[in-house]
């Protein structure tokens, strides 16, 4: 796959700081129109914070320390608040992780979906209602005419997430940010909701920033992947080459820790690989944050954080050791 010619979203060396710690360091990535980028990492690695910075919806104590975010050619960091509000819900929309708490319990779902339409499309009350029914049909909620006046507590988790999706796609956004959209759902519902999102993304030609820690979802869904570790992007790649040949030792670890289709055989022949240590061990590390857990660590790794090295085919990796071995077989890297 070629590097993206005209990106829809371009995040350039974004750094986000909370009092006492830095959540995101120098993160850079881009998404082309209608493309899906998966942002992958352990919980607490800064992927949600990255996503919220794109919408400028960070918690009040967080601050963007440096970096640029370009959306459709506009710098979102310097956009005024009214400009941001015109963008949110219309061109960029958000699906949150927890469908049980992301809907307002005292407003009917019809009102909550209608709100975004009325805000951005200035529809009349009747037209809004008709559109909301269409949207509920679109996300395959049965009996949309009656369901429109239901409150969130009348709906199951999967149904609520469908409502969230209806709300997110209501104005045909160019970019959808989905923050672990299926983590809180049970397995069957997960598959249904993912299928729905997949269909809609094609139908509406939306770009998606998918935040997840589930590599199964990534393999099935994403065009490209960005792996985050302790606030840094450590590897960027297209899906097929990534799964064929992960480069960063942490990516290796992630793939190794995944129980895949061959799990049975894997169990018989080998122990399930796990990454030793935890993200917490990155604290106070002056060099590469992964160094304390890395099986390939060299003394030079501890001196300075390795830069993200651009390789061929739009790949990038923040590990000089594996980058130098490009082309070499990686089977022996872990284990």
């Amino acid at each position: 796959m070629n590097p993206i010619p005209v990106p829809l979203l371009e995040v350039d060396r974004l750094t986000v700081a909370f009092p006492g710690h830095v959540a995101v360091r120098e993160a850079s990535f881009a998404i082309a129109p209608a493309e899906t980028l998966a942002l992958v990492g352990e919980s607490g690695c800064g992927k949600s914070v990255t996503a919220f910075s794109v919408m400028r919806l960070l918690p009040p104590n967080a601050r963007v320390a440096s970096g640029r975010i370009l959306f459709d050619g506009n710098d979102l960091m310097t956009a005024s608040r009214p400009e941001m509000r015109r963008l949110r819900g219309r061109h960029i929309s958000l699906i949150q992780q927890e469908p049980m708490t992301s809907l307002n319990p005292v407003l009917s779902i019809g009102v909550q979906i209608g709100e975004v339409l009325r805000r951005h499309e200035r529809l009349s009350r009747r037209a809004t209602r008709a559109r909301v029914v269409e949207l509920l049909d679109l996300v395959k909620i049965p009996d949309a005419h009656r369901r429109i006046d239901d409150y969130p507590h009348n709906l199951s988790g999967g149904m609520r997430q469908r409502v969230m999706i209806a709300m997110a796609v209501a104005c045909h956004p160019k970019l959808l940010i989905a923050d672990e959209p299926t983590t809180a759902l049970d397995v069957t519902t997960q598959a249904q909701v993912l299928d729905l999102l997949g269909d809609l993304r094609r139908e509406l030609a939306m770009a998606v920033l998918l935040i997840t820690h589930d590599l199964g979802v990534v393999a099935q869904w994403a065009d490209r992947i960005a792996v985050m570790y302790a606030g840094r992007i450590v590897e960027r790649a297209s899906i097929v080459p990534f799964f064929a040949r992960p480069m960063h030792p942490y990516s290796h670890g992630l793939l190794g820790a995944r129980v895949d289709v061959d799990a049975e055989e894997h169990y018989l022949t080998d122990r399930l690989t796990e990454i030793p240590g935890s993200v917490g061990s990155a604290a106070g590390e002056t060099g590469c944050s992964f160094a304390p857990r890395c099986p390939m660590v060299q003394p030079s790794c501890r001196l300075a954080p390795p830069p993200l090295l651009e390789l061929a085919d739009g790949r990038a990796v923040a590990c000089p050791i594996t980058a130098a071995q490009t082309g070499a077989p990686h089977g022996a890297a872990v284990g």
């Binding site: 919806l57 949110r88 805000r119």
Partner: protein
């Protein structure tokens, strides 16, 4: 919606019934504890009472019967809205209370609305500027009002607005002998209402402000607030439509719990401002040692609280769609 509200109404009505009975029995027991009975009061009034007339009076009022028979009689009388007869005022107790009820209701409803309105507005402002100077200043002011006796706030307001500035009247509920009609009458009544209502509301403004602040801050942390922001809605609209309505649910619960205190506070405030309501009647009854009137006031105020609580429950059901569904 309508069905849900109706279900709530039915549920609260059924729930209130035993409380009503309990209050009647509590009232009766307190009446039994009172020193002297109606016969003593009448005897003291007339000044000439022999043992025979006393016995005759007791028989007439059923005071010679057992406590249980008296309770049954008491309940029987209540069933026909008979709260007894005040020998002191030579009037049925219920009639006396009923002439005072409208004034008390007016004061109570005004004070409660004022307290809720001011409390919610102040609490929302404090939450919106949490930790910054408007919050700090208002927090101190609110804490002061939370600590000052309402009647003292009233007296100080009288010094300022009546004595020094001469803006507002501080006695009774209308200008005696002015015989205003139409708008002039309404303006006169309203002017008389301002200070007592403010004095009665002051403490509760603080209660609701503190509560609104806490619950607004709690709501800000909810995920649905980010959902609303992600729709591109205006922050003011988000606070009004998404945050406040959720925050009001605990506020109304507490408002219901404070109704009794509000009505109790009216005793002092009504006395202070010469407001011709039930609270002042209670104190007059204490001074006159006319206990049937005192307990009648207690009984009716309790009923009033139950009634008001039912209104609050309905409001609650209207605010929170999760209530009243099975």
């Amino acid at each position: 919606m309508g069905r849900r509200i109706a279900a709530t109404f039915k549920r609260t009505a059924i729930h209130a019934a035993p409380t009503v009975l309990g209050i009647i029995i509590l009232d009766f027991l307190l009446l039994q504890l009172m020193p002297g009975d109606a016969a003593d009061v009448i005897a003291a009034e007339s000044g000439t009472a022999t043992a025979e007339t006393m016995a005759a009076l007791r028989e007439r009022f059923g005071l010679d019967k057992s406590v249980f028979t008296q309770l049954v009689n008491f309940l029987g009388h209540l069933a026909t809205f008979d709260l007894g007869f005040s020998p002191r005022y030579n009037m049925p107790v219920l009639d006396m209370i009923m002439t005072r009820l409208p004034s008390t209701l007016l004061l109570m409803v005004t004070a409660l609305s004022l307290a809720l309105l001011l409390g919610i507005v102040l609490g929302s402002i404090m939450a919106a500027w949490a930790g910054r100077w408007p919050d700090r200043v208002l927090s101190v002011v609110v804490l002061l009002f939370y600590s000052m006796p309402g009647f003292w706030v009233g007296l100080m307001a009288v010094v300022l607005f009546s004595v020094k500035l001469g803006w507002l009247p501080s006695d009774s509920n209308m200008t005696i002998g002015a015989n205003y009609t139409g708008w002039a009458m309404i303006a006169d009544r309203a002017a008389h209402l301002v200070l007592p209502a403010l004095a009665l509301a002051s403490f509760f403004v603080a209660v609701y402000a503190r509560l609104t602040r806490a619950s607004m801050l709690e709501v800000q942390r909810q995920d649905f607030m980010r959902t609303a922001e992600a729709k591109g809605l205006h922050p003011f609209f988000i606070q009004l439509r998404h945050a406040l309505r959720n925050a009001l649910i605990p506020v109304t619960t507490v408002a219901g719990m404070h109704l009794g205190n509000l009505l109790g506070g009216a005793v002092v405030i009504e006395t202070l401002f010469g407001w011709p309501g039930m609270g002042r009647l209670a104190l007059e009854a204490v001074l006159a040692r006319d206990f049937s009137v005192l307990l009648g006031v207690l009984l009716l105020s309790s009923f009033l609280v139950i009634l008001a609580n039912m209104v609050i429950d309905l409001l609650h059901a209207w605010l929170d769609p999760r209530i009243g569904t099975t």
